[in-house]
């Protein structure tokens, strides 16, 4: 077990090393001089040259890369050209918003996708199944940015059922920073109105972001259940005269769940990708919107930082899921 964990962690570190090469290479692609960009339009040539030297941009690429890695390892991601703050500080502010949104979206998709998938498999080829399949097909084929615009237009602008963009009403102040997730921080502080308001603000973006992964989970649950339903032991259980409930919950679901749970872990990556578009539409101050604004303004220290952090989150979650899996189910991991 320990060897497995160690091997996974070493693999993770290798991936991280590769990720740093790519983020560094990205910055080399940009046709903009970061020193000139940071100093603004009024800077003189000598000032720019001096700043280039200070940043080490006049050194060979390999040396620049090694310096970059050295800084990153100390948690220094450079300064954002746009916000004029350390990128690491920016990300500390923006990351919790994305985590909160992604977790809420994941919750939506687990609460909707798994039960719907179960129901569809039990009523195979029936009306419920057909409906669920259309729902899943649309979820996998619909442009998420249109879904976002649509729910925002309908439920906020038209019906006024839910609040508009942002994490809180503008007249309210954010709860004291504990986790950075407003709902949780408000709960911890016992601040009910803020909790309620931030929860309301979460509903539309989480539903939008969660739609795609709901579709994925629904399909996965359905096919996993269908496969288990055909097994001999299920027939035996039924033949023994066990009630439908006991067979479904005790025998089928239990055995169909592992691939579904793996999918839950894997959807995290797609949530981060989806967050770029969802956050842009809902003006949600998370990693995705930070990335979009940084790319638009060619703020490349920020782009490198956000890409790096995004690329750390997904494999780390995957590694943790793998290790957790191994602990829960010793059969897994026969390679």
């Amino acid at each position: 077990m320990l060897r497995f964990i160690l091997r996974r962690l070493i693999g993770l570190m290798l991936v991280m090393a590769g990720v740093s090469v790519i983020t560094f290479a990205l910055a080399q692609l940009v046709p903009v001089d970061p020193a000139a960009a940071a100093l603004g339009q009024n800077a003189r040539e000598e000032q720019i040259a001096a700043y280039r030297a200070e940043l080490g941009l006049d050194r060979p690429v390999v040396e620049q890369y090694l310096r970059y890695v050295g800084r990153v390892l100390q948690g220094d991601l450079g300064n954002s050209i746009r916000t004029r703050r350390p990128v690491a500080d920016d990300l500390r502010d923006f990351l919790p918003a994305t985590i909160e949104l992604s977790l809420a979206a994941l919750l939506v998709s687990v609460l909707l996708g798994i039960p719907l998938g179960m129901l569809a498999s039990m009523r195979r080829n029936g009306v419920v199944d057909a409906g669920a399949r259309v729902f899943a097909l649309a979820g996998g084929s619909m442009p998420i940015f249109y879904v976002g615009l649509l729910v925002l237009g309908l439920f906020y602008r038209q019906l006024r059922w839910f609040p508009g963009p942002g994490r809180l009403d503008t007249i309210l102040t954010a709860p004291a920073h504990i986790t950075g997730m407003y709902t949780i921080d408000a709960l911890l502080a016992g601040n009910w109105p803020i909790f309620q308001n931030s929860l309301y603000h979460l509903v539309l973006p989480a539903a939008t972001l969660g739609y795609f992964s709901t579709a994925v989970l629904l399909r996965m649950t359905r096919s996993a259940m269908l496969e288990v339903l055909q097994q001999d032991y299920v027939r035996t259980a039924k033949a023994k005269g066990l009630s439908r409930q006991v067979v479904i919950w005790g025998h089928v679901l239990k055995n169909a769940l592992p691939p579904v749970l793996t999918t839950v872990g894997l959807t995290f990556g797609s949530l981060l990708s989806g967050a770029v578009l969802t956050e842009t539409i809902f003006n949600w101050p998370g990693l995705g919107r930070y990335a979009t604004t940084s790319v638009t303004t060619l703020d490349f220290p920020a782009v490198m930082g956000v890409t790096l952090v995004a690329a750390i989150v997904y494999p780390t979650v995957n590694t943790l899921v793998d290790i957790g899996y191994r602990m829960v189910d010793p059969r897994v991991g026969v390679e």
Binding site: G11, L14, V15, M16, G18, V19, V21, I22, L26, A27, L29, V30, P31, L137, A138, G140, S141, M142, P143, I144, F145, Y146, L149, L150, L152, G153, L154, R157, Q158, E227, G269, S270, L272, S273, G274, A275, V276, L277, T280, L287, G288, A291, T292, V295, T296, L298, F300, V303, V306, T307, A310, A311, I312, Y314, P315
Partner: protein
């Protein structure tokens, strides 16, 4: 074929392909021609699918947009599929350290949320449709490398491959004549799903400004341009969104159908 879903997918794809091919003939007007007098006209007999705020005919824009989206899918999936397949064939056939290195490289690409990396690449290269295609291709190839490598690892141990090797067939011949054809089926399934995913990604990049630029009649751009009219002049966004939905769904249905067809466990 008992399951009609694949037929629905194929029919949809055929329709879109014909619309794209004959767009210049079928379009009532030039897709970028403005007509301010007809601004924001609702769908009706003059303009079948309505007009946008500059009075451009949405039907014409959708038809020309189909060309762009189909081209986007083919170009990216073709490029990424070809490159990834070559890498996968090479890695799986040679094994050893080259395989190890190449697979670690794919791991690295899998670490990035695809849209964030694609956006960063597109941003670095400068926003344009061509650069969006390059960006999406860069994040798409590792899937093919992994898939083909896995297939090759299984295939190379099979008797027909060993027999070919035993009679002294050169490696290139084994790879091209024996391994490659046998990996085509799963490759096709993956490519089909990927066509949809790529079309969505490029439309998403265009929507946030890193892909096709106005006045190009690209569907993501059209949704972006119509976003402020979503509750008042719904057709500005609903029509291109429906076009994306139908075309992507077509590829997903075809992918589903192909997979079921090729998976004997599901063939019931």
């Amino acid at each position: 074929m008992k399951d009609p879903t694949m037929l629905v997918g194929l029919a949809l794809l055929l329709i879109f392909t014909l619309l794209a091919l004959f767009a210049p003939i079928l379009s009532p007007v030039d897709p970028i021609q403005q007509n301010i007098q007809a601004s924001l006209t609702a769908p009706g007999k003059d303009f079948l699918l309505g007009t946008d705020k500059l009075g451009r005919d949405i039907l014409s824009r959708i038809l020309f947009g189909a060309r762009i989206s189909l081209f986007v899918g083919l170009a990216v999936v073709g490029g990424a599929g070809l490159f990834g397949s070559v890498v996968g064939l090479f890695a799986g056939y040679t094994r050893g350290w080259a395989d190890e290195v190449l697979m670690r490289v794919t791991d690295i690409f899998f670490a990035f949320p695809s849209l964030i990396l694609a956006m960063a690449i597109a941003g670095a290269l400068g926003p344009s449709l061509r650069n969006a295609l390059i960006a999406v291709a860069v994040v798409s190839w590792p899937v093919y490398a992994r898939l083909i490598r896995g297939q090759v690892l299984v295939l190379r141990e099979q008797e027909f491959v060993q027999a070919a090797r035993a009679i002294g067939a050169p490696s290139l011949r084994i790879v091209l004549r024996h391994l490659l054809p046998n990996t085509l089926a799963p490759l096709l399934v993956q490519a089909s799903f990927d066509m949809g995913a790529v079309i969505l990604s490029v439309a998403g990049l265009s929507f946030i400004g890193f892909g096709a630029q106005p006045p190009t009649p690209e569907w993501g751009v059209m949704i972006s341009e119509g976003r402020n009219y979503i509750t008042t002049q719904w057709w500005l966004t609903a029509v291109p969104a429906a076009a994306i939905l139908l075309l992507v769904a077509a590829f997903n249905l075809i992918g589903d159908g192909l997979r079921d067809l090729l998976d004997p466990r599901l063939r019931k």
